[in-house]
């Protein structure tokens, strides 16, 4: 069973992402910020994390660094999904262990295309 942890402080975005990912046959879990996401991962690592950048409490970049440093934390694929759409942010994300990067707004085509490149579909 493939699982996806959707991390975004916007309930609307989480809902849209969830619909798309369930269509792609992922079992989804949601988190509102990086801290909740990290706790969820430490309970059980998902197949993939769809990760917003700007969030209260703990942002996406802090989460990514903490995840990659934790035991078993290199396993999940991490796909950023953020309004940050400049080369600097993309480079920073990839340098810190992200696997793919989606610039919002996104749709089913984009998620499908990125996930299939990562061999997740």
């Amino acid at each position: 069973m493939k699982t996806c942890l959707i991390v975004d402080d916007s309930r609307v975005i989480r809902k849209v992402a969830r619909q798309i990912l369930e269509t792609l046959r992922f079992t989804c879990e949601e988190a509102e910020d990086g801290k909740q996401a990290l706790e969820a991962c430490l309970r059980k690592m998902p197949t993939v994390v769809l990760l917003d950048w700007n969030m209260p409490v703990m942002d996406g970049m802090q989460f990514l660094k903490a995840l990659r440093a934790s035991s078993g934390g290199r396993a999940p694929k991490v796909v950023f999904c953020t309004t940050e759409n400049d080369m600097k942010h993309i480079q920073e994300a990839m340098a810190n262990g992200a696997d793919e990067y989606i610039m919002k707004p996104f749709d089913m085509d984009i998620i499908q295309s990125k996930f299939s490149q990562l061999g997740l579909l």
Binding site: M94, I102, F106, S113, K114
Partner: protein, 308 residues
């Protein structure tokens, strides 16, 4: 819409681009020709038809034809044809073209250039092996506007996220502004874009080792598909490979090409040599006899000019 107007548009499109406009697609005329109607200071489809009939003004005919083409494309579309290029064909090209260190690829019906640039990026990824080689990638399309777009290599944020891995975006693109990305000069220099109509004499284009002609035959009727496939067979290397789109085939349409066994979407000449790229391992099925006589690829000058 009046039958005579429908007939006029259907004939014009069929002659100029090969597009078959079914009666059920009339709504497409409405939606796609509205900008053309406005641009030429007209008011309605009816007026447009009238103007075409009375003036046969080339720029107007061209705008109508262009507006009715479907230009959708994306990077690494369907991924498989690009994996096949990288994994199956590139090694064969390196082996068989070693004496001249030169090969040529044609993206026929290139639209906004994603197919040609995807191939160029694959070559760039394999630059070490291609050191000292010359690779020509040519992209052609009917629509001059789309050819210009392809040349510029400018894509929206949406377009660079469909099919393009983020690592390629980082390596081969620069951000122009908030929503626009441009493919780098190093890749742009590898590709030449030109206007070209698949229904007309290709002119002195030379010979191509690989041809991508994808998602364009679907718009044509059977005799037109056959005619285009015949024309392609005349500019492909004897051991060359033709790629068609996922919904396209040569079966029942061409006595020149046959599917390459075990490689979906790839087609080779029926009378290809036993040496060269991807030589046949066992004896291939005997050549089918030329059942139909195909018309020679002649250009009817009148058909490019005007609609009667």
């Amino acid at each position: 819409m009046k039958q005579e107007d429908y007939d006029l548009f259907a004939t014009l499109l069929k002659q100029r681009s090969g597009l078959v406009l079914g009666r059920d697609k009339v709504y497409l005329l409405e939606s796609r020709l509205t900008p053309v109607i406005r641009k030429h200071g007209l008011k309605s489809l009816e007026e447009l038809a009238q103007s075409i009939r009375s003036k046969r003004d080339e720029p107007l005919l061209r705008d109508v034809t262009d507006a009715m083409t479907t230009n959708e494309s994306f990077f690494f579309r369907d991924s498989k044809p690009f994996d096949q290029f990288k994994d199956v064909l590139l090694p064969e090209l390196l082996r068989t073209r070693a004496p001249k260190k030169y090969f040529r690829i044609w993206s026929a019906a290139a639209s906004s250039g994603q197919e040609a640039y995807s191939l160029a990026m694959i070559c760039a990824e394999n630059a070490a092996q291609l050191e000292g080689w010359r690779v020509d990638i040519v992209g052609t399309d009917l629509s001059s506007e789309i050819v210009e777009r392809a040349r510029q290599g400018l894509y929206s944020q949406f377009e660079v996220q469909r099919g393009l891995p983020i690592s390629y975006l980082m390596k081969y693109f620069s951000q122009v502004n908030n929503d626009r990305w441009q493919i780098n000069d190093s890749i742009r220099r590898m590709v030449t874009f030109k206007e070209g109509n698949l229904l007309m004499d290709f002119g002195p284009v030379g010979v191509f080792d690989i041809i991508y002609c994808r998602n364009v035959l679907i718009y044509f009727d059977q005799p037109t598909k056959t005619r285009v496939l015949d024309a392609l067979s005349r500019v492909i290397a004897p051991d060359g490979v033709l790629f068609l789109g996922g919904a396209e085939t040569v079966l029942g349409l061409s006595d020149k090409f046959k599917p390459l066994e075990g490689q979906r979407g790839m087609y080779v000449l029926k009378d290809r040599p036993n040496s060269g790229m991807l030589p046949a391992k066992e004896k291939e099925a005997p050549r089918a006899s030329a059942a139909t006589t195909t018309s020679p690829f002649v250009v009817n000058a009148a058909s490019q000019q005007a609609v009667r």
